[in-house]
Amino acid sequence: MIPAGTAVGRSVVRPDLAAKLSGAAVYGADLPVAGVLHVKLLRSVVAHARIAAVDPAAALEVPGVVAVVTAADLVDLDATWGHYVRDRPIFADGVVRFAGEIVAAVAAETEEAAAAAVTTIEVEYDELPALLDVAAAAAPGAARVHDRAPRPGFACPPGTELGMDNAFYHHGLQHERVAEVDEAGAVVVQHEYIFPAVYQYAMEPHVVVASWEPDGISVHSSCQHPFLVRQELATVFGLPLERVRVRVPFVGGGFGSKSYTKMEPVAVAVARAVGRPVRLVNRVEDAMVTTRRHGMRCRMRTAVRPDGRFVSRQAWIWMDTGAYADNGPTVTMVAGMAAVGPYRWDRVDIDAACVYTHLPPSGSYRGFGAAHLQWVGESQVDEVAALLGIDRLELRLRNLLDRGETLIPGQRPLDADLAGDLREVAKRLDWGGALPAWRGRGISVGVSPAGVSARSAARVELRPDGRVMVLVGSQEIGQGARTVHAQIAAEVLGLGMERVVVLPTDTDHTPYDRSTGASRSTTVAGLAVQRASERLRTALLAAAAEHGGVPVDELTLRDGRISTGKRSWDIAELAAAGPIGADGDASELTGAGPALFWEVCVAGAEVSVDPETGLVEVPRVVTVADVGRAVNPSLVERQDEGCTLQVIGNAFFEEMRFSEDGVLLNDSLLDYRVPTLTDVPAEMICVIVENGDGPGPFGAKGCGEGVFGGLTAALVSAVTDAGVPVRELPMSPDRVWRWIQQTTSDTAPG
């Protein structure tokens, strides 16, 4: 524990709490917009088809309908988008590639009129065979989901190879720590694993208000990456950046579902066609086919010497990105990295493929990659431990990398004490203590690349009214970014929290920030806030020195007052003639590849399995928030708890089910089962580890996603320890029950 500062290190209450609890907070669906039209989308009901005809005549007859917009209205544009691969038409253009693809939009004076009209549009589909299974889609000779060569999007890293096959992107990791790797006598485990497609379920689905004005595009969007949305819209609609303005109202959760661009292009396209502002509000069933988490199949092989020394790890991974790439290649890259595990291997050989199918597109979701692969790798470590008769914790401790060692060549060396973290978990799980039958403990360790980019800037301004305004483009999506940024500025400037205001993002005024994701808001954007605040502090002291005619080193700044000897004055006086501001950024953060720091994914769990029903209960969960420095300890704990609940859903019951024709079957919250309060583990222990070793402000590094990798794996480990081997998620009661039947019949004598 590091002692708390005046603001940093304290569990201050969120400044936006009252607005959210009282309903005063204005979300995208609440924004008052004069003359706004309501948009409803017609989505394809088939997974793969040629569109023979679209007849909007009946819809146009519906009173209140202003326009029906289709691909035909965008022929003057290159109306495709996608930040990584520019593969996605705004409206299906001749072909639909997944059930749920946008075919047409209705704009009407009322939501009701739009909803009524959209069902009357007649579309004739010539159905085509659909590729719904990622392995089939990746197989040699499979029909292609896209027949054109993939075009890199504006955010595709230079030099990335995009191929013509459905498996259009590969992330390979091949390295040898020792020459002539010797596997003789090694214990080998090899299996196939399956991970389901799941949905992020942010409480507020996507909302966009868009208008097409003579001087450009104006958008209010519930998005996580407003600056990348600006860039995408500028690219698609052929405008310079400064003629696209993106503002972000209160956002009701993201979890990755609102990262990059989602509903903005179609909303802008409709606004452009009708010449009036429009509002597009997704419902849950829309959001589920807008973006989701990749389903995955994987084959993994692990070889370990009889003395317990790790030799080699191989994995072949297929990520089902659906019909359009979205952020699939990044997810695939991180999945490949997660397959390695933070161990000292002699040899690593991983191939992770991003594969097109005729299912809805997949993108980012909290903890991606680690959520997919950590449980796979860790379950093989457990299996080896059992085969060798070595304790699971002990086997890990023997092979874990130390701080400073290379995890993946070319990437930032390991920057955390993983063994220490693991021991913290073991202690709280009473590791080694006896358990009754059908109970199990699990433990898991991993890391995931976080931070992604140092491109974050901030501006901090003292206003004449004495308040300090923080302009930073990291979005408050419930994680507490605004609170943390205010704390950082308050700490540096010696101010009470009530005098610091973090403003909502407006790309016309807010300094650039790449994105709200990869656990970067505190570490990267927070560093920009810290640097800007420090500059402002220097500027204020200099101004005060001049103002009072005293040397700077005789001044102190505390509680918003500058003092020298007996004299003191409020900093507001310094800004009487106008605001004083300073800029800062995070450019000092360097690091090759996506890891500006490694987010720690360490957790443990205890479970009990009911052998008669297959139901798994989770009495205890231990998560480690290895955050370097907890700027706000309460927010750190809430991050781990919230993520714990999402993991429980993903690990035990959530799964998007598609029909044989590729249509999503469970597109409501009654049928798609997110956890409820009854699923909260009886005991959730969050261990905050503060080693001051993060690259962010005050030694901080990000958190909030690591639990997805760590806890998913720990739960699998615990269920296995209870006697049920797991090779597929979710561990729903029916599956667990079948696995129990299999295991008992496999091991039955005779």
């Binding site: 009901v45 519906v62 009173p63 009129a113 009524a116 009209a117 069902t119 019951f653 079957l665 009654l670 089962r673 409820t676 309060l677 009854t678 699923d679 009661p733």
Partner: protein, 318 residues
């Protein structure tokens, strides 16, 4: 565009008259089923007759009966002290249903008349004899893990989803009606119609019949009762199997939910228990002897059997 008329009535007779005058009109109570189904196109109504202002919101005693107005909400009834004390089976069944928000809007009358959750009934793009007589039943060969094993017909295997109705069937509740020809009463055990070859007809109600209330005979003092609901998820989910048990001194009444096309009074189990009050396993076995599972819902036979045995062991054991 679909147009919809809306009228609010103040007197039960007016409500009945409104419906009698218009075959395309329907009652609107809490709206949690009616509006839901209208939005997805499963049911259509040209005219909604809002009955929420009718004076049918009282819970009173009349002799040995608890008289519950049709517009009493689920949450309110569950919180009535007399229900907590004398009718735990009813309280449990109510609180095991839906969510607090829904229960604060949903009415007792509406609950009894809610429609099946069969996905093929709800999805207008698929075949359903209940929605569209003669169209066929997509559930027979489709996704039917949650469908019925009792009271099924070759034309429909949809379950009745209500928890409340299962408790009330076990309690021998009586439905009070007001129809175009005046008031009448129907025992709940005779209220629901099994699908047979007319799955569209779900109850004995005729168009225009208004449920005005439910009369529940209070079980004798000392009666133990309870409702056990088994589901995939511990809250906000419909039953895979459920059992209501009312163990009056000298006789045990039993009903099953989640497994049958109608709230299922378990007469065969009761007959076994009359002879041998503690023969729970035999009773459950008898009730499920003629169950007709299909490809994916065979587990319900065993699940219902065990649910019933556990419910009996909990509330009917001496």
């Amino acid at each position: 565009m679909r147009t919809l008329e809306y009228v609010r009535v103040g007197e039960p007779a007016q409500a009945v008259a409104e419906l009698a005058a218009d075959p395309a009109a329907a009652f609107l109570a809490g709206g949690t089923t009616q509006l839901d189904l209208m939005k997805i196109g499963t049911v259509t109504a040209r005219r909604l007759v809002d009955i929420t202002r009718l004076p049918l919101r009282d819970v009173t005693f009349d002799g040995g009966d608890l008289r519950v107005g049709a517009l009493v909400t689920m949450e309110r009834l569950a919180r009535e002290p007399v229900v907590a004390q004398r009718l735990p089976v009813l309280r449990d069944a109510l609180l095991a249903g839906a969510s607090v928000q829904l229960r604060n809007a949903a009415t007792i009358g509406g609950n009894l008349l809610q429609r099946t959750r069969c996905p093929y009934f709800r999805d207008v793009a698929t075949a359903c004899n209940k929605r569209d007589p003669g169209a066929g039943c997509a559930a027979l060969e489709g996704v039917h893990r949650n469908h019925a094993i009792l009271g099924t017909s070759p034309h429909c295997i949809a379950t009745h989803p209500s928890d409340l109705a299962v408790a009330l069937v076990a309690l021998d509740a009586v439905v009070r009606l007001l129809g175009p020809d005046g008031p009448r009463t129907v025992p709940l055990t005779g209220f629901y119609l099994p699908p047979d070859d007319t799955p569209r007809l779900e109850t004995v109600l005729r168009h225009g019949d208004l449920v005005t209330g439910v009369d529940i005979p209070l079980p004798a003092q000392g009666t133990r009762s309870g409702y056990l609901k088994v589901r995939d998820r511990a809250s906000y989910d419909f039953a895979l199997a459920s059992a209501a048990v009312v163990a009056d001194p000298g006789r045990t009444r039993v009903a099953l939910g989640g497994v049958a096309t109608v709230p299922w009074r378990a007469r065969r189990a009761e007959a076994v228990l009359r002879e041998a009050p503690e023969a729970f396993v035999a009773a459950a076995g008898a009730e499920l002897a003629d169950a007709e599972p299909r490809r994916d819902n065979g587990y319900k036979v065993e699940l219902a059997r065990r649910t019933l045995i556990r419910a009996l062991s909990t509330w009917a054991a001496p």
